[in-house]
């Protein structure tokens, strides 16, 4: 009897979807991958919820709002192995740069003021800051995935190349840690 096909779920939190694009850069290797795995909840197939428990969860991006935290916790709950993919998931990446203005008295407000009002390149005559009830509330600062839930492995890169994805996923599918050769480790 052949081994059960592994189930993979993916999501993008406070990321740019670059890691998902790089995953799609697997090109023809996607056929090999899809021969071995099924994708459950993922933006790649537009499934918004888990249909069943998954073997591997790939997380792109860190947590900058309450929805990111909720999704990350759902992934931890439904995935046997959780993998932080890319520098935003691992270190916070570009979004975490807002943590360095945390010396301000009201840092989150200052961040929004600069983004939507004070910046010279923004035209916003009514000084509106997005505040619709459907928008997830921003967190006080940006958190890495490992600061919110237990993360089992990480795949570094910005984004990890398709080659790195291929090697790391191959290891994960076989239940092994995603060991990367020195030459494949990149943080940019």
């Amino acid at each position: 009897m052949s081994a059960r096909r592994k189930r993979i779920a993916t999501t993008s939190l406070a990321g740019c979807f670059g890691c998902h694009m790089s995953l799609l850069d697997l090109d023809e290797h996607l056929f090999d991958l899809l021969a071995k795995v099924d994708f459950d909840r993922s933006p790649l197939n537009d499934k918004k919820t888990f249909t069943r428990r998954c073997d591997i969860g790939l997380i792109e991006g860190g947590c900058c709002n309450e929805e990111n935290v909720r999704v990350l916790r759902e992934f931890r709950e439904h995935c046997d192995v959780l993998v932080a993919v890319g520098q935003c998931a691992i270190t916070g990446g570009v979004p975490v740069m807002r943590n360095s203005i945390m010396h301000a008295e009201d840092p989150l407000r200052e961040c929004l003021e600069v983004a939507y009002n004070a910046s010279k390149t923004v035209q916003n005559p009514q000084n509106l800051i997005p505040n619709d009830p459907v928008l997830p509330l921003l967190l006080d600062k940006v958190y890495t995935c490992a600061q919110v839930v237990k993360v089992d492995y990480q795949i570094p890169g910005c984004p990890p190349s398709a080659e790195v994805f291929r090697i790391a996923l191959d290891a994960l599918i076989h239940g092994a840690p995603p060991q990367l050769d020195h030459a494949l480790i990149r943080y940019d």
Binding site: M102, Q154, C158, Y187
Partner: protein, 244 residues
Amino acid sequence: MSRRIHFTVDGQSVEADDGQSIMEACDAAGIYIPRLCDAEALVPQGSCRVCVVKLNGHTVAACTQPAEDRAHIESDTHEIRSYRRDLVRMLFHEGNHLCPVCEASGQCELQAMAYRLGISQDAPYPYLQPVRPLDASHPDIALDTNRCILCGRCIRASRDVDGKHLFEYVGRGIHKRIGISAATLAETDATIDDYAFSAGVCPVGCIIRKHEGYEVPIDERRFNKQVIGSRIEAKLLDDNEEEA
């Protein structure tokens, strides 16, 4: 002529002049010992500890410790590699080292060292995410201290090569930082031609030479093409020199 001494590094015999440091002797023999605070033309200070080796069973900094006749030195062992990996990981967690947005990426010795040491998985340390200043006052030079690892190479370069004393350590422990000899860099007599601001002195992206960023694209940079230390291992020349 000075006396010749003999010792072994991981079982390999090395010959050196009496008084040479372990690192100098190993460099000449083509054995690379990882280092961050030591650089060519600067007095070694043994502060980063990445060059830690075991000399007859005792941990010492290879850049400051004189080699001893008939000594047994361990460098590339599991224990020493673990020390080095932990030291480099702590540096990454202590400052704000965001490689995707740093213009030194690909020519940064801290990053290259992490690649060489095979650091790809999480470390059991929190990211301290300190709030540190940026000094862009000087027309040709910017200092982004978020990336400073306190190696002190700029201090020694300015003091010993330029004779200007632009930088000095200030504070102690976790509060230690690099101080400038005036309120801002623009108020000092710093010039872009100072050795302290030449490529290869700052190992990370703290000292930024303005108007030159991204002249060499990412992927075509020094450590994208060669592993840090490979020039020494190939006995070619000092590791800080660029490939011609």
